[in-house]
C-alpha cells in the first residue's frame, strides 16, 4: 500500500528509492523513513542481484512483464516475487492454477482424495498451487509431480530454505521437475509464525479457485479459503465423514456456500470450462486461424451460428464453412438449444 503511494508520488520505484528524507516523510511514517535510510546506506542492489543469480533465484518485480497478472488484482500484491525453478516452464498469464490446501495431519481418506483431485487436475493441465507443508499440501504437490503435471509451492520464508525440513526432498524434486518454489520474502528470510498466513493469500491469489480438503475448525486452510473469497476466487470443498474432526473445515465452508466437489468435473463446471485446459491446447494446435477464432469464442459460451458470424465479423456463409470443419474435426457440437458448443 505504501509502495503504491510512493510510486504514485515519485513516478517509479527507482525515483522513490533515491529520494530524500523529507519527501519520503510526506508519505510514510517518519520512523519508517528513517529505518529505510539506514537500510539504504547498507544495501547494495546490484550485489544482491548477483548473489541471487548465483543461487538460481529470480526476482519478479511488480513492473515485470512476467509478473503473474492475477496477483495484480488482489488487494495487497507482493512487491517482489522470488522464484526458484525454471521460470520458463510456467506461463502465468495463460495457465489455469488451482490451490489445494488442507490439514497437516490428514486422515487416510484425506490423502486419498488429495491424490485423486491433485492427479486428475494436474492431468487436465492445471497447475497445482500449495504451501509445501506436510500433510495435504505435500500430497498435492506429489500427486501433481507423479502425473507429470506442474506445481508451485508458495513458501512463508525465503525460497532458499526448504521448510519444513522433512520436505527437503520434495523441495528439490519440485525444482527439478519444472515446478516452481516462490515466495515474497527475500532469500534467507527465516521462518516466522505469522508469515504463513500472509503467504496463504498468494496461494489463493495465483489460483482460479482453492480446494480445501481436510482441516479442523480453526485450520489455516480456512484462512486461505477466506482470502480466496475476498479475492473473488472460487472456494471448493470436498465433504468428509461427519464423525471425523478433520471434516470440520470443509463442512463449515460448504455450509457457507462453497462449491461441493465430488469429482473434478464439478470444478471444471464452476470455472466455466467447457474443456479441460490440456486438451484445449492440443486441439488448438490442430486448428487454423479461422477455426481457432470460433473455437475460442465457443470456449466462453455456446453460440448460435448468427452470433458466431458476428463474433468473427464474417458473412454467415463463411461461418458455416468453418463451423462444419470444426464439427468434422469433432471439436464442437450442436446442443439442444441449437447453439454450438465445444465438445467435451
Amino acid at each position: 500500500m505504501r509502495l503504491k503511494a510512493l510510486i504514485a508520488k515519485f513516478g517509479n520505484v527507482k525515483k522513490a528509492y533515491e529520494s530524500n528524507k523529507n519527501n519520503l516523510q510526506n508519505i510514510i511514517p517518519v520512523q519508517l523513513a528513517e529505518e529505510f535510510l539506514v537500510f539504504r546506506s547498507k544495501f547494495n542492489p546490484s550485489d544482491e542481484l548477483k548473489k541471487l543469480k548465483k543461487n538460481g533465484i529470480k526476482v519478479l518485480s511488480w513492473e515485470d512483464k512476467k509478473y503473474p497478472p492475477q496477483l495484480k488484482n488482489i488487494f495487497d500484491p507482493p512487491v517482489c516475487f522470488y522464484i526458484k525453478g525454471n521460470l520458463k516452464s510456467i506461463d502465468f498469464g495463460n495457465s489455469y492454477f488451482i490451490g489445494i490446501v488442507g490439514t497437516r495431519n490428514p486422515t487416510p481418506y484425506g490423502i486419498q482424495i488429495t491424490k485423486k483431485f491433485g492427479g486428475e487436475l494436474s492431468h487436465a493441465g492445471f497447475v497445482i498451487v500449495s504451501g509445501m507443508a506436510t500433510g495435504i499440501d505435500a500430497t498435492a504437490h506429489k500427486s501433481a509431480l507423479e502425473s507429470k503435471g506442474k506445481t508451485i509451492a508458495v513458501l512463508g520464508c525465503g525460497v532458499d530454505i526448504p521448510y519444513p525440513p522433512s520436505n527437503a526432498k520434495l523441495y528439490s524434486e519440485i525444482i527439478d521437475k519444472d515446478g516452481l518454489v516462490v515466495s515474497e520474502f527475500p532469500p534467507g528470510h527465516r521462518v516466522l509464525k505469522g508469515l504463513f498466513v500472509t503467504r496463504n493469500r498468494i496461494i489463493s491469489g495465483l489460483s482460479k479457485g482453492v480446494l480445501i480438503i481436510e482441516g479442523l475448525k480453526d485450520s489455516g486452510a480456512l484462512i486461505t479459503a477466506r482470502f480466496a473469497a475476498e479475492q473473488g476466487k472460487e472456494v471448493f470443498a470436498s465433504p468428509g465423514p461427519i464423525t471425523s474432526p478433520f471434516s470440520q473445515a470443509p463442512h463449515l465452508l460448504l455450509k457457507q456456500g462453497a462449491k461441493l466437489v465430488t469429482s473434478v468435473e464439478d470444478i471444471f463446471e464452476e470455472l466455466g470450462l467447457r474443456l479441460i485446459p490440456k486438451r484445449r491446447e492440443n486441439i488448438e494446435m490442430q486448428l487454423d486461424r479461422k477455426e481457432k477464432e470460433i473455437f475460442q469464442a465457443l470456449q466462453k459460451e455456446p453460440l448460435l451460428i448468427d452470433e458466431i458470424a458476428i463474433e468473427i465479423h464474417k458473412p454467415v456463409y463463411e461461418a458455416l464453412d468453418t463451423i462444419s470443419l470444426l464439427e468434422l474435426k469433432g471439436v464442437i457440437e450442436k446442443n439442444s438449444e441449437g447453439k454450438y458448443q465445444v465438445k467435451i
Binding site: 448460435l304 451460428i305 448468427d306 458470424a309 458476428i310 458473412p315 454467415v316 456463409y317 458455416l320 464453412d321 468453418t322 463451423i323 462444419s324 470443419l325 464439427e327 468434422l328 469433432g330 450442436k334 439442444s336 438449444e337 441449437g338 447453439k339
Partner: protein, 505 residues
C-alpha cells in the same frame, strides 16, 4: 334445322372439345332437351338460354329442341355451355349464318338479360382450341385477362349475346382482344423485403439456397422467432416465372376460377393453407376433381406453417406429389392428373407449446407429447426436405444493434444467376433446378473437387449419414456452388451444405 357449335369443357386440367349440336324439329310436341351427360347446372341452362334469347329480342322457337353435347360419354358440368347452346339455337332458327360458326369456339354463362358471365378454366380451353386449330374464340369479357399469353389467337371478349349476333352477321364487328396490355399485368409487389428482417442471417441464407435450387426447406424454431415473417418474405427472392411456367400456373388457376380475382403476374404462387383445412383442399379432389393447394402452389411455394399440426394422413398424401411433381386423383368417373411441382416451405416448433429449450420461457409439454409431435415429421416427408434450418429466437436488445440485412433485390439477382446456370447444365435432363435432380442425375451432373470429396467422406463417417442425406448434401452443395458462380463443387460448398442437414435429436 341442325346447327353445330364448338365449345369446350375442362376435365382435370385438360380442355376437351365439345360439339354442341342443336336440332330444331318442326314436328312433335315442343320440348327442350339436353343430352350428353349434363349435370344440374347444364340442365338449368334451358331456362337461362330461353329467357336470354327472348330478352335479347329474338324469338324462341316453339318446337322440339334437342341439344347434344358430344362426345356424349364425358360428364359435363357448369354453366359455360349456355352461350354455345344459345348460339346453336339462334343458328338453327336461322338468325345466324351457320357457315360463320365453323372456325369459332364459344364459351360463357348467360344471364337472363342476355349478358355474358365469366366461367372457369378458360386457359385450358384456349390451349385445346389452339391444338384443334380453331382460331377465333368468343368468351366473357371478364375472362379476357386470362388470355394475354395467346397472342397467336383471335379472341373476342364479349359483353352481350346480341354483340355476337351482330358480329357474326357482319353488322357490327367486335373488337378483338389486344395483346399488348401484358406489361401492366406483370407488376411485382412484395409485402416484406429481406432487408426489413433483422438478424436470422442463417435462415436467410438457407432460404436463398432453397430459392436458388428449388429445394424443399424446413424452418424450426420457437414461436415469435420470425419463421412466418421469413416465409412471407420468401417470394421476394424467387426468380420470376418463364412463359411456359406462367402458362402452366395460369391454367391451374383458371380451372380453379382464381385467375380473375388476382391479376396475372410472373410472380410465383405462394400458398399457405391452414392445418385445419381438409385433405381434399390440400391435395385436390371432389366428385369432379379440382386442383388443391399443392397444385395451386405449382411452380411456386407451398408454405405449411406448424407442419406437425397437419393431420398425419394429409402429410402422407404429400409424398407422391413431392416426389413426382404431380398428383393423380382417381374417381369412379376416371382419374385426372394435376401438376404439383412446388417448393415445400415447412415451419415447425420444437414442441407443441413451442418453448422447448427456449432460453427464457418454460416448456409445458410432457415428454410423450414432444415425441409424438416430432414423429409427425419423421420419415418419408423429412426425406424429401433438403434443407433444415434453425430459427432461434432473437433477443429484442440484440435486434437493435444489428445492421440492416441485404435487400431482397440483391439476393434475388444471385438466385436468378444460379438458376440460369442450373438450366444450362440440366438442359438435357429436361429439368431446370437442382432440387429436382434424382440421385442418378446427381451422379451425372455434379462434379466435386478432390478436397470436397475428401471432406464429404469424413462427414459420412463422423455424422453417419445415410445414402439419401449424402445425395442431398451434394445437391445442396451444387446450388451453393451455383450461387457463388462456380460449376464444380468445392470444399467450402460441401461444408456449408453440411450445416443445413437434418440433426437427429
Amino acid at each position: 334445322m341442325l346447327a353445330k357449335v364448338f365449345s369446350g369443357c375442362v376435365v382435370g386440367l385438360d380442355g376437351v372439345l365439345i360439339e354442341v349440336e342443336v336440332d330444331i324439329a318442326n314436328r312433335g310436341f315442343p320440348t327442350f332437351a339436353i343430352v350428353g351427360l349434363p349435370d344440374k347446372a347444364i340442365d338449368e341452362a334451358k331456362d337461362r338460354v330461353r329467357t336470354a334469347i327472348v330478352n335479347t329480342g329474338f324469338e324462341m322457337p316453339d318446337s322440339r329442341i334437342t341439344v347434344n353435347l358430344a362426345p356424349a360419354d364425358i360428364p359435363k358440368e357448369g354453366s359455360a355451355f349456355d352461350l354455345p347452346i344459345a348460339i346453336g339455337i339462334l343458328a338453327a332458327s336461322k338468325y345466324l349464318q351457320r357457315e360463320e360458326l365453323k372456325n369459332n369456339l364459344f364459351i360463357g354463362e348467360l344471364s337472363l338479360e342476355g349478358d355474358i358471365r365469366p366461367v372457369e378454366g378458360i386457359i385450358s380451353i384456349i390451349m385445346m382450341a389452339r391444338e384443334k386449330k380453331i382460331s377465333q374464340i368468343f368468351l366473357p369479357v371478364e375472362n379476357a385477362k386470362e388470355t394475354f399469353l395467346f397472342d397467336d389467337m383471335i379472341i373476342f371478349p364479349v359483353r352481350k349475346l346480341s354483340d355476337i349476333v351482330l358480329h357474326l352477321n357482319g353488322q357490327k364487328p367486335l373488337p378483338s382482344q389486344e395483346h399488348n396490355e401484358r406489361k401492366e399485368d406483370c407488376i411485382e409487389t412484395y409485402e416484406t423485403d429481406f432487408a426489413d428482417i433483422k438478424g436470422q442471417e442463417t435462415a436467410k441464407r438457407g432460404l436463398e439456397i432453397a430459392a436458388a435450387g428449388f429445394h424443399n426447406i424446413h424452418l424450426k424454431g420457437p414461436p415469435g422467432a420470425g419463421k412466418t415473417l421469413l416465409s412471407r418474405a420468401f417470394p421476394s427472392i424467387l426468380p420470376p416465372m418463364e412463359k411456359q411456367e406462367i402458362l402452366e400456373v395460369s391454367q391451374i388457376y383458371s380451372v380453379a376460377g382464381l385467375l380473375r380475382k388476382q391479376p396475372f403476374s410472373r410472380e410465383r404462387p405462394f400458398r399457405s393453407p391452414h392445418h385445419t383445412g381438409s385433405r381434399i383442399g390440400l391435395i385436390g379432389g371432389g366428385s369432379i376433381p379440382k386442383p388443391g393447394e399443392i397444385s395451386l402452389a405449382h411452380r411456386g411455394v407451398l408454405f405449411l406453417d406448424e407442419l406437425p399440426e397437419f393431420p398425419r394422413f394429409v402429410l402422407e398424401a404429400l409424398r407422391q406429389p413431392l416426389e413426382d411433381g404431380f398428383v393423380f386423383i382417381s374417381r369412379a368417373a376416371g382419374s385426372v392428373r394435376f401438376p404439383s411441382r412446388f417448393l415445400l416451405l415447412a415451419a415447425s416448433n420444437p414442441c407443441p407449446c413451442g418453448y422447448l429449450n427456449h432460453p427464457k420461457r418454460h416448456c409445458s409439454c410432457l415428454p410423450g407429447m414432444i415425441i409424438k409431435y416430432r414423429k409427425r415429421l419423421s420419415g418419408p416427408l423429412l426425406d424429401r426436405i433438403d434443407l433444415h434450418v434453425d430459427v432461434p429466437s432473437v433477443e429484442q436488445e440484440k435486434l437493435t444493434t444489428l445492421q440492416e440485412g441485404e435487400t431482397s433485390e440483391k439476393i434475388r439477382r444471385r438466385v436468378i444467376n444460379a438458376h440460369e446456370r442450373q438450366k444450362k447444365r440440366l438442359e438435357n435432363a429436361r429439368i431446370s433446378t437442382n432440387g429436382e435432380m434424382a440421385s442418378k442425375m446427381i451422379r451425372q451432373f455434379c462434379k466435386l473437387t478432390t478436397d470436397a470429396e475428401e471432406i464429404l467422406k469424413q462427414a459420412i463417417d463422423r455424422f453417419s449419414l445415410s445414402a439419401r442425406s449424402y445425395f442431398k448434401i451434394i445437391k445442396v452443395g451444387q446450388t451453393i456452388a451455383d450461387l457463388s458462380g462456380k460449376e464444380v463443387i468445392e470444399r467450402s460448398h460441401i461444408t456449408e451444405s453440411l450445416q443445413f442437414r437434418f440433426y437427429e435429436e
